[in-house]
């Protein structure tokens, strides 16, 4: 059996097993969240050539330093890996504001506690770390450069470690650290004339509202259409704000969607009935727009994101114009 040398400790592993799974099996309690190569919380370092395949999603500045994703790394011979040097990539932060948006969604604002030069864009995600071993990804809902803080929207997850911390323990002044930013779900001023279609479920709205506000303040010329989906009305947590935004910007369209039943009391709210990806595809097909010219942003529930990505591509959309952030997670 080949071995992983993890911070010099020897761990035998089965060929076909990921490094992350070997560390879990031998009770090294590695930090991780999604196991799908998306969240980047599991990052380790190595100088082995066996990591190349698991570096595809790692950004260039970290790649050259030997960072890779052990959940995506299946070595077939001995390999040495080490924990990341936290000074390289971790920034200290504190909570500067906390507000419940609904019973199940909390908004946190975070500020750096020391001078830093990290440039963070709306729509990217950062990895929050608390209690030394809980690390989870959250999307940036504003333009931090302009506002001077990072805004996050966090959904309560039953028995969820990080979301429980955010709801129960986080207070103004609470300390935490962050790694990042990551992700390519961003708006660039080159996109000014593109038609944007943004589709999100639940707190998948967070990166989308960040992108929308940035586009609008950039005087975006193309059409911007947001489809926000939830099961219950409560989950359309920015309904009033978005309605107002649509009233005041003639190129912004807001399409709320409920997959559950729509109560009579909401009859005047122009809510679409059905899953958000189905509603979006139906309306796009009806408009007979050319998918080639649309830039997509898809965030939230992994199945919705993957299905929508595939349907858009099959309808003629260009892959490099589909920005997708599935909120992947794994069972613990």
């Amino acid at each position: 059996m080949p071995n992983i040398y993890f911070n010099s400790q020897k761990i035998p592993f089965k060929v076909g097993q990921s490094i992350l799974d070997a560390l879990i099996e031998f009770d090294f309690k590695p930090v991780y969240s999604c196991k799908k190569g998306v969240c980047q919380t599991c990052m380790l370092k190595s100088d082995s050539s066996q990591i190349t395949q698991s570096q595809m999603e790692v950004k260039d500045t970290l790649k050259v330093q030997g960072y890779f994703l052990p959940c995506q790394c299946y070595p077939d011979s001995d390999i040495s890996v080490i924990s990341p040097c936290s000074e390289d990539i971790t920034y200290d932060m504190q909570v500067s504001d906390k507000k419940l948006l609904t019973q199940d969604i909390v908004q946190l604002k975070l500020v750096f506690t020391s001078d830093n030069r990290v440039f963070i864009r709306a729509g990217q995600f950062i990895n929050l770390k608390v209690q030394n071993d809980i690390l989870r990804s959250y999307s940036v809902a504003n333009t931090p450069e302009k506002d001077g803080y990072i805004e996050l929207h966090i959904q309560k997850v039953p028995d969820g470690k990080m979301s429980a911390w955010c709801f129960e323990h986080a207070n103004i002044g609470s300390a935490l650290s962050m790694i990042g930013p990551f992700g390519k779900c961003i708006y660039l001023s080159d996109f000014k004339n593109d038609d944007l279609v943004l589709i999100g479920t639940g707190t998948g709205l967070a990166p989308l509202i960040g992108i929308i506000n940035q586009a609008l303040s950039n005087k975006h010329k193309g059409k911007i259409t947001l489809f926000h989906g939830s099961r219950h009305f409560n989950g359309l947590y920015l309904h009033q704000t978005l309605k107002k935004l649509a009233d005041t910007h003639e190129n912004f369209y807001y399409k709320p969607c409920l997959s559950g039943e729509i109560p009579q009391t909401l009859a005047d709210e122009n809510i679409n009935n059905g899953r958000v990806n189905k509603v979006a595809m139906m309306q796009l097909n009806k408009q007979k727009g050319d998918y080639k010219n649309i830039r997509f942003y898809l965030c939230g529930h992994p199945e919705m994101v993957k299905n929508m990505q595939k349907m858009a591509y099959l309808s003629g959309a260009i892959l490099s114009k589909i920005n997708a952030d599935p909120f992947e997670y794994t069972a613990y």
Partner: protein, 122 residues
Amino acid sequence: MSNSLFDSIGGKDAVNAAVDLFYRKVLMDESISHYFESVDMEAQRDKQKSFLTFAFGGPNNYTGQSLREAHAPLVSKGLNENHFTAVAGHLQSTLDELGVPEDLSSQVMGIAAGTINDVLNR
């Protein structure tokens, strides 16, 4: 592999023209689409570019052994001769849609057919 087949078909431009046609076809075919779905669709699409470059007789570094390795995870998920036939069918119809002449397309299909034992790890 002779490069003249690749050049006659139209080289890199032909691959670029073919890749979306081909990738959309396999994604729409319910009998095989699950093999080709992925979070990172761009990376998957690039793999299909490698596939087409190989089949068109273009410059590549693939050997029987590396084709085996690339498809081994799929074989363990049940990849069989029916799937192979389906992919070959989509390759053929891609070539037809692009108007590749019969004598060239039959050479491409010959290259693809020749890999069956490696692809299916037999």
